[in-house]
Amino acid sequence: MDSRGERGQVLPRARGTERAHGARPDPAADMELLAGVRRNELTGLRNFVLRFEPVLMDQARRLGVAQDERRTVVTEFLDDMLVRLAGEKTEAPRSLTAFVITSFRNCVTDLRREAAVRARHSQSQEEMIGTEHVVRATCSEFMLRSARGDGCGDDSGDESPSYAVVMLARALIESCSYDERQLLIWSAHRVALRDCAAWLGLSYDAAKQKLFRLRVRLVRDSVARLSALAGPDRAELARILRRAGVQINNDVTRSTA
């Protein structure tokens, strides 16, 4: 974790708020839950599912998995995760929650990649023999959209960003540091800045400054990206930036391009 100040000095770790540190789940409870899973007790397994199923369903929604596929994706993941945890002889993860969530996110990313490969393969087959039904049969709508990269949300009014924003995210991943990406996602979750500061090991003022600089860069990058785009993608990103309150006019676009 990067918690260095402006001149590279390591800043003292902030104590954080009660909300950030005071109400953390008991690590012993994690250990007990894991022990129950490893003993293959029905109660332990059930409690694990009860604890993580809602979290993973929410994650599936955030990751843009189609509504009718969320339950299947989560159920299969939980089933595999339980078998994996029960079989592992290694030490328990430091945070069971973080471990389960990141594993799930990686699992969905892998599914997307597989779907993309399948879709590409089917597309080439389709071009050769004109069989669109092959693509339809082997890939779900979510996987097809993911593979094409044209937005990942379903049509049920979710908050999933559009294609232009997904493209912006891919650019951000390259330009932002690990801490900055954390800060962006925490802000999207509306985490209080005081908590963000504590989790990053920064003082409140340092975190505020970091966020402020990030905002500036984000606006600059977004506008620059806008000027590099053309056609519907440009219009889409411009709409999003306007919605976010960024005043876009030709002068601004030209000056930042």
């Binding site: 409690n47 979290v55 159920t75 089933d79 996602i185 999207a188």
Partner: protein, 246 residues
């Protein structure tokens, strides 16, 4: 650089103020989130904050349906974990076949094979997950050499079908001990009226009946009566044809 020094350039870039910029930050954060970025969730504090936040907004109806789902997933996982453990505990020994010193059906060659430190090997489709004639009447032309720890009363059979995957795959050779006592959680070769000989996992072991299950969830469990000849024996090892044997 202070915040005040930064503000004019922000205006030049065409941003109204903090709230709007925050909105852009949230959009970017959402975009990273949907793109599968794990950075935020690798932080233990945030992961736990997020978990509490999600649990805080579960409705009673969702909680009730979650209970039912949890029970179902837990039962399925329990069976798979048990299967994985049994599969892991099944010893794997090298497969060494040789021509039978005495040719005949199993019934006739079993003793001779045992005395030579071997077990008769039946490769016909009639066993394991297939249907067919009495196993003891199968012709046997090959034996397998027995590892030192397995005494007499053994029979080597070839598995067909996918009902016991991932523990046993089609084509695997198993060593079945005909003297071993059947207990819960062991793997047995049994005779089923409609399917012939099957290799299954014992999930319930009563005095009068046995409940046999497959590791592959696509197959339903069933019950057989504990009558003489119903169970051929208990699977004691898997004989691996490859070199890499644990």
């Amino acid at each position: 650089m202070t915040r005040e020094n930064q503000m004019p350039s922000l205006h030049l870039l065409g941003i109204d103020g903090d709230d709007d910029a925050s909105s852009l930050i949230r959009i970017a954060g959402d975009a990273l989130d949907v793109n599968g970025d794990c950075a935020a969730y690798e932080n233990d504090n945030f992961a736990e904050w997020y978990e509490r936040e999600v649990h805080g907004r579960i409705s009673i109806a969702d909680r009730q349906s979650g209970e039912r789902l949890a029970q179902r997933i837990a039962r399925g996982a329990q069976a798979r974990i048990r299967a994985a453990r049994i599969a892991a505990s099944l010893p794997v020994r090298p497969f060494r076949a040789r021509a039978a010193a005495v040719v005949g059906n199993i019934n006739h060659v079993a003793r001779a094979a045992s005395e030579s430190g071997c077990a008769p090997w039946v490769e016909s489709r009639a066993v394991a997950a297939g249907a067919g004639r009495e196993i003891w009447d199968e012709p046997c032309e090959q034996w397998v050499e027995l590892p030192a720890e397995f005494a007499g009363g053994n029979l080597a059979l070839t598995v067909t079908g996918d009902s016991m995957t991932p523990c046993l795959e089609s084509g695997d050779v198993i060593l079945v001990n005909t003297h071993k006592v059947v207990t819960r959680d062991c793997i047995v070769v049994a005779r089923r009226a409609e399917d012939g000989y099957v290799v299954k996992h014992v999930t319930r072991c009563g005095r009068a009946a046995l409940e046999l299950s497959s590791f592959n969830r696509a197959y339903e469990p069933f019950t057989i009566e504990r009558v003489p000849g119903a169970v051929v024996g208990v699977v004691v090892a898997k004989l691996a044809r490859d070199e890499g044997v644990s």
